[in-house]
């Protein structure tokens, strides 16, 4: 799925890493528990989460993953922005809940990892 299309589907706003809006991603994983995310072997996924802190970005950094969808209108802190920019990570924020985002994107063809 094209990240720009994904952003539109969840009424999202791309807050950084906007150069990646033309990229495509095939899989998604939704979790607020980072050790669960860290079990993923692949790097081609978008993290759908409500965890708005620096560790969600550290988790993407360690995973070599580049996309985050932050739900429920959570605010991106300056520390998060800094780390996202350093690692060229796209962050999209959505006013929708995690459940609603996941539902919309699953229906639109984004694949689950498990």
């Amino acid at each position: 799925m094209n990240l720009g299309d994904l952003c539109n589907l969840v009424e999202g706003t791309a807050v950084c890493g906007t150069g990646r809006l033309g990229d495509s991603v095939e899989y998604a994983f939704a979790s607020d528990l980072m050790s669960d995310v860290l079990t993923i072997k692949s790097t081609d996924f978008i993290l759908i989460t409500g965890l708005a802190n620096i560790q969600s970005l550290r988790t993407l950094e360690m995973s070599d993953a580049s996309y985050m969808l932050l739900c429920r209108g959570k605010e991106v802190t300056p520390e998060m922005l800094e780390l996202a920019e350093e690692n060229d990570i796209l962050i999209i924020t959505s006013p929708y809940s995690l459940f609603r985002c996941a539902g919309i994107l699953f229906s639109a063809g984004l694949k689950p990892l498990y």
Binding site: D32, L33, M34, S35, D36, L38, T39, T43, L51, N53, I54, Q55, S56, R58, T59, E61, M62, S63, D64, E79
Partner: protein, 137 residues
Amino acid sequence: MNLEYKVEGGDFTSAGLASSQIKKILKQLNVDPAVIKRVVIALYEAEVNIVAHAYRGVIKAQIDGGGINLTLEDEGPGIPDVEMAMTPGFSTASKAVREMGFGAGMGLPNISENADDFKIDTIVGQGTTLRIGIKFR
């Protein structure tokens, strides 16, 4: 190459800094990205465990052409039952730690999964030492 980093218990802002720096170094050394991912995931889980469960600790990394050896030594409560701690899903993480995104009880099993060699030495009331070895090829 020998590297050393200090880790403070409870400091979730800095958690992951050592792992991030070691990741950059391994990249510069042109280590296979798939191997780097295994190294930094194991290291990051272990680093966060010091922050989440111990008082303070030191990370030592020894890198040569063949691989990396990591030692994470902490002063902390220790682990009373290592076998239970290694069980996926077992966690004693506090509410504060869970709010930071940890406490799934997946960290130690995930370290074991990613490491070629993994050893835990722990003394209750004193602290825990993890040894993680990963070969580059």
